[in-house]
Amino acid sequence: MAAVQWKNPVIKWIDYRLPIFTMVHHDLVDYPTPRNLNYWWNFGSLAGITLVIMVLTGIFLAMYYTPHVDYAFESVERIMRDVNYGWLIRYLHMNGGSMFFLAVYIHVFRGLYFGSYKAPRELLWIIGVFILLAMMATAFMGYVLPWGQMSFWAATVITNLFSAVPLVGEAIVRWLWGGFTVDNPTLNRFYALHFLLPFVILGLVGLHMWALHVHKSNNPLGIDIKSPSDTIPFHPYYTAKDMYGLGIFMTVYLFFVFFAPNFFGEPDNYIKANSLVTPAHIVPEWYLLPYYAILRAITFDIWFIPAKLIGVIAMFASILILVLLPWLDRSPVRSARFRPLYKQFFWLFFVDCLILGWVGANPPDAMLMGKISLLVIGQLATLYYFAFFLVIVPLLGIFERPKPLPESISAAVLKPGAAE
C-alpha cells in the first residue's frame, strides 16, 4: 500500500518522526475490509466503545468512592444523592457493565457461528477468551465495591471457590481475603484490582486488534479474501455502519440508564453488607448465571474427587475450553452457512446457554411446574455444553458434508439476486 502524502506541515513533521497518522490511515481509513460483513460484525467496535465508556465513568466514580467497609456503601449513596450528576455516572457505569457483556457475548457467538476461531485466527480468538476472563474478574470485583449485601455475599461465595483446591485451599482463601472473612483488606485490594484490570483489558484489546489486522476480518461466507474486489475500504463504509449500530446500541443502553436503571441489579444490594446474615437467595449478575448453573450442577463425587472441586473445575473449564476450540473443530469450512449440521447444533448450544442462565437464576431446589427438578435440567444442560465441544464438534469435522463454497466473496455478493 502506498504511503500517504500528508499535506499539513505539522502532521507531516510529526508523522515523519512518529508515523501515527499513517498508522491510523492504514488501519481505520484505507483498511481493506470484506465487502459482505453483516450487522453481527458491529459488536466488536461496540464492545470497544463500551470499554472506553467504562473507563471514563469509572475514573469519575473513583473521585468520590471510598474503599473502606465503614464508608463504601455511604459513599456510593452520596454519589447517587449529592454529587452533581453522580446518579448518571453511576448508572452509566452499572448498566455499562451489562451492555459490555451483552456486546461481547454476541461477538463471541458470532465467532462461533461463522467459524472466526479457525486458522489463521486462533490467537486472535484466544486473546479474546482472555479478555472475557479479565472482564469477568473486573465486573466481579466492581460489584463488590458498593458493599451491599449482594456485594458481600458474592465476594464470599466466589472467593470460597478456591477453598476447593486440595491441601492449600484454605490458605489461598485467607490470602485472597487478607483476613479470616471478606473484610476491609478484601475491599481495598478489590478496588485496586478493579482499577487496574480495565487497563490490562485495554492492552489485550490492543493485541486483539493487532492480530486482527494481520489476517483481516472473517466474513459471513467464511472464505478468504482473494482479490481487492472482495474488499471495500473501512472508511467511509464501515465507519458509517459502525456509527449507525452505535446509535441503536446507545438507545438501548440509555433506555436502561434513564428508565430502568436497576433492571439488571438486585434490590438486596441497596442493603448495607452484613457479615452475619446471608440473603435468602443469592445470585450473581446475569452475565455470570450460566457458569453459576454449571458450578451447582455438579452434586456428585467422582472417585475420590469431591463434588465441590469438580464443580469449580467444570466452571472454569466451561470458559477455558474455548481456548481449545480451534483444534477441536477439524472442519475446513468456517461459516455455519455451509455446515448444515453444525448450524443446528450451534443453535441448540445457544439455547443451552440460555437454559443454563435460567437455571442459574433460580434457587437450587426449584422445580419446573412442580415436577421436574431444575437441578436435573442444569445437569443435562451442562452435559450438552461440554458434549458440544468435546464430542459433537470433533465428530462433525469428520462426518459432516459441507455445502459447496462460493468461488469468492465478490462472486457471491455481486451476482445478481445474491443474498447480502
Binding site: 455475599w153 461465595v157 490470602w175 487478607g178 446471608t278 443469592i282 451447582r296 437450587p364 431446589d365
Partner: protein
Amino acid sequence: MTATATTAGPLDDGKSRRDFLLIATSTVGAVGTALAVWPLVDSMNPAADVLALASTEVDLSAIQQGQSITVVWRGKPVFVRHRTAAEIKAAEATALSELIDPQPDKARVKKPQWLVMVGVCTHLGCIPLGQKANDLKGDYGGWFCPCHGSHYDTAGRIRKGPAPQNLAVPDYQFLSDTVIRIG
C-alpha cells in the same frame, strides 16, 4: 591476546564454559526475581493486627432450651445452641453410615446440650438459616443453607446438598458451667 570474545579459544571448551556461565547467571537471576516477588505475595496475607484478634467469651446462662444465639469470633458467626432432648436423641441415634462426613455426635460436643460451631457453610461460606425459631431448618431439623441448598442435622452435620463437610467446631473451653471461651 588481541582476540575478541567472538574468537575465543578451542570451540568446545569456550562454548561449554560460556554456556555454564550463562545458565548459572540466568538461574541466579531468575531465583532472585522469584524471591523478590515473595514479599509482594505475602503482603496480601492477613496482617499482624488481624492475626492478633482475641478470643471471645460467651455467657450461656441466658440461653433457654431450644434457643440459639450467634456470637462473632474472628469476624465469623459462631452458633451456640442449647439443644432439646429430642434433638440430642436424633443426633445420637443417626448411624454413621448415613453421614456424608461421618462423625459421631459426641465428637462434636463437650456437653450434649451445648452445640458450638462456626456458622459458615462448608460449601462456599454462606451463613445457614436455622438460628431463629421461624427459620427454615432443612430436611434434618438443624440448619439449611439457602445459597446452594445444604441441609445440616441437629449436630450440624452435613446430610444433603453440595457442602462437603460438617459445620466446623471451633476450639473452646468451659470456663465454668455457664461460660465458654472460643479460640
